[in-house]
Symmetry: C3
Subunit: 344 residues, 3 copies
Amino acid sequence: MAGGDGLFVRNTWYVCAWSDEVGARPLQRWICGEPIVLWRRSDNRVAALADRCPHRDAPLSLGSVVGDDLQCGYHGLRFDADGVCVGVPGGERVPSGACTRAYPVVERWGWVFIWPGSADLADPALIPDYHWKDDPAWTGKGETLPVKAGYGLLRDNLLDLSHAHFVHRQTLATDGVIEFPIVTEVHDDRLTVLRDMHDIAPSPFFRRMGGFTGNVDHRQEIVFTPPGNIVIKLRVADAKQANHVVEMRVLNALTPETENTSLYFWSLVRNTSLDDSQLTDWMFEANRSTFDEDVAVIEPQQAMLERAPPPARPIRWSVDKGVTQAQRWVQRLIAEEAGNAGSV
Amino acid sequence: MAGGDGLFVRNTWYVCAWSDEVGARPLQRWICGEPIVLWRRSDNRVAALADRCPHRDAPLSLGSVVGDDLQCGYHGLRFDADGVCVGVPGGERVPSGACTRAYPVVERWGWVFIWPGSADLADPALIPDYHWKDDPAWTGKGETLPVKAGYGLLRDNLLDLSHAHFVHRQTLATDGVIEFPIVTEVHDDRLTVLRDMHDIAPSPFFRRMGGFTGNVDHRQEIVFTPPGNIVIKLRVADAKQANHVVEMRVLNALTPETENTSLYFWSLVRNTSLDDSQLTDWMFEANRSTFDEDVAVIEPQQAMLERAPPPARPIRWSVDKGVTQAQRWVQRLIAEEAGNAGSV
Amino acid sequence: MAGGDGLFVRNTWYVCAWSDEVGARPLQRWICGEPIVLWRRSDNRVAALADRCPHRDAPLSLGSVVGDDLQCGYHGLRFDADGVCVGVPGGERVPSGACTRAYPVVERWGWVFIWPGSADLADPALIPDYHWKDDPAWTGKGETLPVKAGYGLLRDNLLDLSHAHFVHRQTLATDGVIEFPIVTEVHDDRLTVLRDMHDIAPSPFFRRMGGFTGNVDHRQEIVFTPPGNIVIKLRVADAKQANHVVEMRVLNALTPETENTSLYFWSLVRNTSLDDSQLTDWMFEANRSTFDEDVAVIEPQQAMLERAPPPARPIRWSVDKGVTQAQRWVQRLIAEEAGNAGSV
């Protein structure tokens, strides 16, 4: 799609699936309000087409993979990975120029990235960095969380971790997240929110995960790459024993399905105790509970945005700085794409 | 809210809860299309705020009561009963003027009344009279009935009791309600619909409740106070034995949640056999069944209003007089509020 | 309704019920976006009125049949089969001219046909031909299939049987439907799509139903009468033994309930083995499974039409000829009715 729709950033890479979800059986995903069908070809590459057959509008994902092509389950049209119609039933000639929309797709680090914007701008160099996901020095686990809220609310949530004190009392709560100030920095390609907490009590999570008994120095560095990529780099060290240290990365790929639903792809990785699968499972379960707590606030928040009158005057203070900067950045990108409608 | 929205009468008191529903745990209610959170303070007074946090739009009702204040469950902002933001986390200064909307609330007779209009017009003297609810000379029981229909349809239902003959065959049906004419009177503050039925067979309900075996004189006086308050005063006396008489009040507080959903607060009280709790329970259950019969007509009626083409020419006759007058009154109030938009 | 609404063909007969569905208990149906109540009078004729009472908008179908009239279950208004209000409760005079809309109805061949357009144009001679349904030379069985899709998608499905090869692999699939071309013919009152398949393997259905072991000559003649009537005439003969032949009629009456829901009345009849009720049941069950397969494509197709961006360029080829002609015909009828708004 040339030009923006005013709703989504389209000229960007979004995670749309885990590698092991895509095989010879078509998979439907909605990205930026569009239905997309994914399948894997014999050379192992992933293909992605618009999931509405240009013949009679049936979802191609109800069809089947035949050779490397996708065959519609209604009247049998066949499309290759480029969206070219390569066959109509009955030995008839394919109408000249018959095709459907193909989306650029790149598979990396166990995730499938898709580009819902102009295909000629789809530069793999722009794929956001989630290399920890299959770096042998790191290990961990994650999943996809479907959320009935716009992906922006997930971004806001992650860019202001002070909520942990209130939302995650049983897991991530530390007094530190509300007592230590944040430092936000805007770079060309990313925004960072840094909070250095010195000599604080460890959260229940880090007591268990890192085996800390006394106070810790806890550093949170949130790295935001627009529009929906957030890597949280966590470093926790014993306040009295600087070499007792654990590091974690919370990888968050936030993908808009529609204006008010999202797919939240996350993975939690650490660089210690790499062989401890029990620890992996425990961390995964703990994080899953934590994210469920977030969703329990974010979905009602979305409902309020849709149904309730807006406040006469929103309240903002220092803690909102990162959130506000990120929101503006994304709005600017959307506006730029909309303005570029004619030129792309 | 200054000025009206053209949908609801706002400068009025609506019942929003039973006293025993409001405690130290926040309670969400929708009134006139707005989400409201209620809680009870240590001095026993009830507080009501807009239920959308002006920070990040989460429902405050997901938070918790801390001291006399309400604390948002997302990022911890605290609001007092006047809607003033009295704390943000981390010891930061509260931004100047930070506040949310507070609603005037008065608790009376076991119900909580709320004023969704301009707070400076909220005169407790305007609270509609439901004193029977905790008058020691009366006893009874009621509940809240959530209805998937605009509250106006409930009002229409109660102002034309001729429906009892058709809808409530097993309980309230008497031939009288369709054979005796009504007299409607419009006063400054109320409208009354009177039906005096002489020497009629008692309904199944009054046979049981009043122990009538022969014919009765049955007087229905419906007192409507706009926009949604209806007290039905019932007096049934043995037609041959004038001192065998029972009186009842059906208290109906109709509250608009949204344009097409309502909360129907009702209570049924009598001034005889005050200690007969079995009778209370029987009357409550009988009335509940009766109102379920109403809802079984009113919700499909609402669906027709939303989906079906309107009739070319509505049918009205004498029985509709009270309903029509009440509808016009409420429409006039809504129009007046809309016209006052600038001046309040 | 004089003039069209731009959505439906109204000046036409639609099947709205099976004869045995209509009795002394009111039956609600939605036709062309309008709620209709049907009941059967003592002289056995079927009556149909708008199902929204012109008094207080309750569905008349919640009422009851009293004598030959329909009595509203809310306030007791009575309407005769012509829609005239013949009684209000309490012995009051019926307001002059009080009435509701009546719809022309004709019962034929075990189906009830309704005319949702201008009553003065409702000529029974225009009822589409489904005489096979109770012709003693034919036997069979059918049912009503409610479909969450516009009826036009069902019409498109039936006018292009090439889908059988892909959708109905277990039942009707033959290579023939995609290998032999179609011939479409437009007549004054109908459109036909003919496919003559010579010397092909019989489908699983015909192997069982007709007992064919070798190849067959299989003729499909689809007769479309706008806007939603399709009779499929099937003739299958042994390719080597011309007198071993079976004939079937698939009777399809497609009725729009609303813009995006339909009632699909179908019956499958044959002119052989008339007394074999086991065969009737088997054919019925097989066809029902087949239609379930269709619905499994058509409902997602409807969802795509509503939610997904349209294809840049639809694909059409020879197989679509009948579908396209039928669509244009129906669009022309709708446009003609809309244009006639003032004159009818």
